[in-house]
């Protein structure tokens, strides 16, 4: 994306439940400061929280990256594994492989990826077992 106004990146560690949501809260705060409209802000906030929690619950660790241009917000979640064997299944509402520990905390409804897809204007997911998963989401800013 050329002409970026703002780029921000956060490390998200696997299993970091106690600090879960901090990266998303920080992204939300920054977008608010940058004067983004409330509707887009909310959509980005939901998608970034879901992506962050998936990094914590399902991945071996990764990054959450936010890029803002005058036209759109780009949100990228990139991790170092384990990858998703069947992406279409993972995208189904209700499908979850969340651990017992995660379920006890109220995760594992199998709604995270559908929530991301529903809130983003563009949604692209690539995954390779043994390599990792990358999700790119675009949000057109309302004027």
């Amino acid at each position: 994306m050329a002409n970026n106004l703002f780029v921000d990146s956060y490390d998200v560690a696997s299993g970091a439940f106690q600090t879960a949501g901090d990266a998303s809260a920080s992204i939300k705060r920054k977008l608010k400061q940058l004067g983004i409209d409330a509707v887009t802000l909310r959509r980005v906030a939901v998608a970034s929280y879901e992506a962050e929690l998936n990094l914590i619950i399902h991945s071996n660790g990764g990054n959450l990256i936010m890029e803002m241009s005058p036209e759109e917000v780009l949100l990228i979640s990139k991790d170092v594994g384990p990858g998703i064997p069947d992406i279409s299944k993972a995208l189904e509402e209700g499908y979850s492989t969340a651990s017992e520990e995660a379920r006890d905390l109220g995760f594992g409804a199998g709604m995270g990826l559908p929530n991301m897809k529903r809130n983003a204007d563009t949604f692209d997911i690539e995954s390779q077992v043994g390599e990792g998963t990358t999700i790119k989401m675009g949000f057109t800013i309302k004027r």
Binding site: G21, K28, V46, Y49, E50, L105, G106, M111
Partner: protein, 115 residues
């Protein structure tokens, strides 16, 4: 309706010091699955749950809710209370069930969240 008025109706206590009890409630909801709440959460929502960990506060703050209502006397974890106080999110505690709380909120005219 304000959070303080709902507290009276529910006979609930606020367990977070310094929270804004004048916040206006826009709608009510009950659910313990966080992704579900993220799909249906609204600004000004009063949310009933039995989840007590810090992610409940993260979700309520992200959604800019009016308050979290912990039902059936469940106690918030200390980390949750600290975060709620830091963020100014009111956490109410009641011995009533989610079912009773929703019944009272419904009767008092608190709306169902609209998509």
């Amino acid at each position: 309706m304000k959070v303080s008025e709902l507290m009276t109706l529910l006979d609930a206590k606020c367990v977070t010091e310094g929270a804004n009890l004048d916040a206006e409630i826009s709608c009510g909801y009950s659910c313990d699955l966080l992704s579900w709440v993220l799909a249906h959460g609204k600004q000004g929502m009063a949310w009933c749950t039995v989840q007590t960990h810090v992610n409940v506060i993260a979700v309520s703050v992200l959604m800019e809710m009016a308050c979290v209502i912990l039902v059936e006397g469940v106690e918030a974890e200390e980390a949750s209370l600290n975060k709620a106080i830091e963020e100014g999110m009111p956490v109410l505690s009641t011995t009533k069930t989610a079912y009773e709380v929703c019944g009272i909120m419904n009767k008092a005219g608190i709306a169902v969240p609209v998509e």
